[in-house]
């Protein structure tokens, strides 16, 4: 999944012009920046923030889908869903590790998530009331994530770019799996098809919001583009997503809830593309600022898992210390 990691990113740097120019020259030569390389503080901070928020999105993203594991309607679907949610946790783990190469610990990042200081993708603050949502999340949400993440495979920061290669492969599998789930519903009964349509009606706009604000409103994008953390603008990626997705919806026999959606042959330099209606940005900012339907529940669930698990983590640490002490004692004897 993708996080709107650049919202409010602080790219300020205090390094000398010479240092910054040398760094920019490396970026322009498409050299990968590695953990021990010199880098502007603003570059490091921007990445810590973006990778951390991306990791948090994976972890919080386990909740809306985890909601259906015990209720999955067949054993095959149950196994696939379990494996998928497990993959999301795995993505969180690689991403936390990638962020740790920049000098921040997983514990620090977790505390920032739980205190509300660090954000995660707005999409996970919507509920998953029906089974069809498991298909829609795979198709639209993972589809939007892939659109965002494919360019991140070429991100200038080596550990992040490499993590993204594996993540994208798995996300692409999830997207096909989600789409296949929806095909089953659309080939099924009237109730199943209605369940699928209702789900798309709820997830379409939030999925478009995953690409972040319009370019004109996205204040920190320019520096990130220059540093090649980001390669395409929010609006470019959103347009690509819409153009790729509408034919897939048509194949399912489903519609997206946008009366203004229209094919425009002039768009994309004459290649054609879809014009779409205006996104409800008030809703977007409301959710980003913590007032979506599920924001409080998501953080509450993460806090509960973290707090209830404290004694387990303490015990693991205490046991490891006891073992190490016994070893030292044995060696001394």
């Amino acid at each position: 999944m993708y996080s709107q990691g650049l919202i409010g990113a602080d790219g300020a740097t205090e390094e000398t012009e010479e240092f910054l120019a040398a760094f920019q020259a490396r970026i322009d030569r498409e050299e990968k920046i590695e953990p021990n390389d010199p880098m502007p503080e603003g570059y490091r901070k921007t990445l810590v923030r973006q990778i951390g928020q991306h990791a948090h999105s994976e972890i919080v993203g386990m909740l809306p889908e985890g909601n259906w594991i015990t209720r999955a309607p067949s054993l095959r679907r149950k196994a696939a869903l379990l494996a998928k949610v497990q993959d999301e946790g795995g993505h969180g783990l690689y991403l936390y590790s990638a962020a740790e190469t920049l000098g921040v610990t997983r514990e620090q990042m977790t505390e920032e998530l739980l205190s509300g200081k660090a954000k995660y993708s707005s999409i996970f603050n919507y509920p998953t009331p029906t089974w069809a949502d498991m298909g829609t999340i795979g198709w639209l949400v993972d589809g939007a994530a892939i659109m965002n993440q494919i360019p991140l495979c070429r991100c200038s920061y080596g550990p992040y770019a490499r993590a993204m290669i594996r993540v994208c492969k798995e996300e692409s599998f999830h997207q096909r799996q989600g789409y296949e789930l929806l095909i089953s519903l659309c080939n099924g009964t009237k109730e199943q098809k209605e369940m699928a349509q209702d789900s798309i009606n709820r997830w379409w706009w939030p999925s478009l919001m995953m690409f972040g604000p319009h370019d004109a409103e996205s204040s920190h994008s320019e520096q990130s583009m220059k540093w090649k953390i980001k390669r395409f603008s929010n609006d470019e990626l959103r347009q690509k997503f819409i153009d790729a997705t509408i034919p897939q919806a048509e194949y399912l026999g489903l519609t997206v809830p946008d009366p203004d959606l229209k094919w425009n042959p002039e768009k994309n330099n004459g290649k054609g593309g879809y014009d779409h209606g205006e996104i409800n940005w008030d809703e977007f900012w409301q959710v980003v600022k913590g007032h979506g339907q599920m924001n409080r529940d998501r953080i509450k669930a993460r806090k509960k898992a973290w707090n209830d698990g404290e004694w387990v983590r303490d015990a693991a640490l205490a046991h490891a210390e006891k073992r190490a002490a016994r070893k030292t004692q044995q060696a001394a004897e």
Partner: protein
């Protein structure tokens, strides 16, 4: 024979499905991220084994029921899982101990089933035996860490031992169906696995500084469909979509 084998397979399939269901409840809520990955793994192993077992049970029965019809569309009294696996997760100590108790039984069970007279059983056992060895290792390491960790973890671990141990006996109990299958060499004799189970557990408990209590009043009933109160809620979740939208493909 086919009726006895069918019933004995349901005992096995239900044990794996219901335990898999319980451990899957942790996914996304574990004490640390590594366990958020490990627990779905164990759930997948258990649910995967149940799929193989139900599919074979459906073939043995010969009425055209598939894995989902057997997993989802029976009434509570028709589930034959032992009471141990349906017990609620409680805390991480209870969950890991339940996983260990079950795996310490199933590993030698599948080991013995590798020489079954039935080819399909040998196939299922070949895959499951490796998974159960891993579950013993994973859950066993946690039981040791928690038993010999902090005062709180030791207290919680011992409480889990007191609470879960009375449910162990049912793993060894032979139903008439299980006996009939054991006599033909199709499925292992459960009774014969006591020594191996005790050996595995006492090795782990020695390191975990835990005592295995003597059980005067074992809790039995699952094999005859006499489940606890929590089982109805588990089935309500498991069966929800299949019951609300009957006869559809998913």
């Amino acid at each position: 024979m086919s009726q006895a084998l069918f019933n004995a397979l349901l005992e096995l399939g239900d044990d794996h499905l219901i335990l898999g269901h319980r451990v899957s409840e942790w996914c996304g809520h574990a004490p640390l991220l590594e366990e958020d990955l490990a627990m779905p793994n164990m759930a997948l192993d258990n649910i995967g084994a149940s799929r193989n077992i139900y599919t074979y049970a459906g073939e043995v029965e010969g009425k055209g029921r598939d894995e989902d019809q057997l997993a989802y569309l029976r009434l509570d009294r028709e589930y034959k899982n032992c009471l141990l696996v349906e017990r609620p997760n409680e805390d991480f100590a209870h969950t890991m101990l339940k996983q260990l108790y079950f795996a310490a039984f199933m590993e030698p069970y599948w080991q013995a089933a590798l020489s079954s007279t039935d080819e399909t059983i040998r196939g299922i056992a070949g895959k499951a035996v490796k998974e159960m060895a891993y579950h013993i290792r994973h859950a066993g390491e946690w039981v040791i860490r928690l038993g010999d960790g902090t005062d709180e973890s030791a207290k919680r671990m011992q409480a889990a031992v007191e609470e879960m141990t009375p449910y162990v006996e049912e793993l060894f109990t032979m139903s008439a169906d299980a006996k009939a299958c054991a006599e033909k060499g199709i499925l292992p004799d459960r009774e014969a696995l006591r020594a191996q189970w005790s050996q595995t557990i006492s090795n782990i408990f020695d390191q975990a500084l835990l005592d295995l209590p003597e059980v005067k009043f074992p809790q039995l009933g699952g094999r005859t469909g006499h489940h606890g109160e929590e089982m109805g809620f588990l089935l309500a979740q498991l069966q929800y979509v299949q019951r609300a939208y009957p006869g559809m493909s998913w």
